[in-house]
């Protein structure tokens, strides 16, 4: 068991605290889970780049003392791709919201999954656009209220993890802010994975989604995750009907595929071989 204060060693104390998030917002829990994972892996702060888009979740990087990059809405994975390719020694992590990664950023998400670049993406899924005030997102379930769905949503949601898997991600996992310890260990696994890894962190936005759908306080929403979560192993035994409305948690997918940069590096090495031979001759 780690000491609580380990997180404080990673916070950027030049930022104003308390943080911007609403009291009880799960984003802070995800951040804690992430920091603890990094700490367990002894990744140096200098060697980690944390990239986000725009949204409540995307405010995370400003609070932590890594190389942090708060980009534009939907584009963190594309920025992260550049960061990683330019400096492959960096551990590159994207943390952003469901709207950011899956709505406007959906294309970068599926293509990064496909390329299998060694980046970890944590999607904080709170079923809503929190920052802009509760509009429905691509993960909002059918029949829910949102500020742009006054007559309840008519769009079916994505299953983030399925989308990641069928697009080519090599590690895909899910947990919730209630299961913060598991969440942290899944993030840890994702960080260790060589390849494109995705962790979906289910979180509460009681201020917007919860308020509009009468799901109660932060505490109530967080506790609700306890009841709807089903571990992968159990889920495997349940019928699709029984799984309706459930959240399957754990490692959903973990395969090996060649990583993009390693592959590309081989081309570079091959092309540079003659040059090096040249040099050797001369010396």
């Amino acid at each position: 068991m780690q000491k609580s204060d380990v997180t404080h060693q990673y916070l950027r104390h030049t930022m104003e605290f308390p943080n911007v998030w609403c009291p009880g917002c799960g984003i802070g829990i995800v951040l804690g889970a992430f920091i603890r994972a990094v700490d367990r892996l002894h990744i140096s702060k200098d060697d980690l780049a944390l990239v986000s888009g725009i949204g409540c979740t995307a405010r995370i990087p400003a609070y932590v003392d890594f190389n942090t990059l708060h980009t534009t809405h939907g584009r963190p994975i594309a920025f992260a791709t550049g960061v990683k390719l330019a400096n492959p020694k960096l551990k590159v992590v994207v943390i952003s919201g469901d709207g950011d990664i899956l709505a406007i950023g959906g294309n970068h998400f599926i293509h990064a999954c496909r390329r299998n670049i060694d980046i970890t993406v944590v999607v904080v899924n709170n079923y809503i656009y929190g920052m802009t005030g509760g509009q429905y997102s691509p993960t909002t379930p059918m029949g829910k209220r949102a500020s742009t769905a006054p007559y309840l949503t008519v769009e079916p949601p994505f299953d983030t993890c399925n989308l990641a898997i069928s697009s080519g991600a090599t590690f895909v996992a899910r947990s919730t802010v209630y299961h913060a310890t598991q969440l942290s260990s899944l993030i840890e696994k994702a960080l260790v994975k060589k390849g494109f890894s995705v962790v979906e962190a289910m979180s509460n936005c009681h201020t917007q989604y919860g308020r509009l759908n009468r799901e109660g306080t932060a505490v109530r929403m967080i506790q609700a995750f306890k009841n709807v979560a089903v571990p992968v192993s159990t889920a495997a035994k349940l019928s699709p009907e029984k799984l309706e409305g459930k959240i399957v948690i754990g490692v959903l997918h973990d395969i090996e595929r060649p990583e993009y940069i390693e592959h590309y590096q081989k081309i570079i090495d091959r092309l540079q071989l003659p040059k090096m031979a040249d040099k050797e001759e001369k010396e």
Binding site: P18, V20, W21, C22, R59, M131, G133, T207
Partner: protein, 190 residues
């Protein structure tokens, strides 16, 4: 409306922190003077990049004639529900401007001549069971102390804008706000 105005303008700022419902309170005041009393009014607001947390403010300009510049330039009345907000905005008060604060929260009262302090938050909590209606209570006290509109108009505005299900709590808050302010006003004048 009191006669203390700049070119027929009466300027009010409701200030505090995000989540205290001050924008809504401002809108209710604006609706009271605008819709129910036919005056010109502009209501504007200002918040940080995050809608939650941080200081928040709601501004009103009220006038019998057309309002050009829609933001207050020097305040006739300032309501502050946090010390931060109070510190930040009291310099914008006119010399004879009125300051209303939550007495439990704003402990350091700045050196202005016209100050009213009411325990809005605690009264709301104790008498109505929720701090959520402190905004309406404080707006009600603005109505009484500034005289910008009739209590009736304000009540109507409150009822039309209050989230469904909270009408009666808001009405109570309103009445308590009227009451406590009337007393204070009498005392001040007396």
């Amino acid at each position: 409306m009191k006669k203390k105005k700049t070119e027929g303008r009466y300027e009010i700022r409701l200030s505090g922190s995000g989540g205290q419902g001050l924008v809504l309170a401002g809108v209710m005041l604006a609706e009271a003077v605008g819709v129910y009393e036919g005056k010109n009014v502009t209501q504007t607001q200002s918040y940080g990049p995050e809608a939650r947390g941080g200081t928040s403010r709601s501004d009103l300009v009220i006038s019998d004639s057309e309002i050009y510049y829609p933001k207050p330039s020097s305040l006739d009345l300032l309501l502050s529900l946090t010390q931060d907000a109070c510190n930040r905005y009291y310099p914008h008060l006119k010399d004879d401007g009125i300051l209303i604060v939550d007495s439990d929260i704003v402990r350091q009262i700045p050196p202005v001549s016209n100050v009213y302090a009411f325990p809005f938050t605690h009264t709301a909590k104790e008498k109505i069971g929720t701090t959520l209606v402190a905004n309406v209570m404080s707006a009600a006290s603005i109505v009484i102390i500034s005289g910008i509109c009739k209590t009736d108009s304000f009540l109507k505005a409150v009822l039309s804008r209050a989230p469904r299900g909270t009408e009666s709590k808001n009405e109570t808050a309103c009445k308590i706000g009227f009451e406590m302010s009337r007393k204070a006003l009498k005392k001040a004048k007396g």
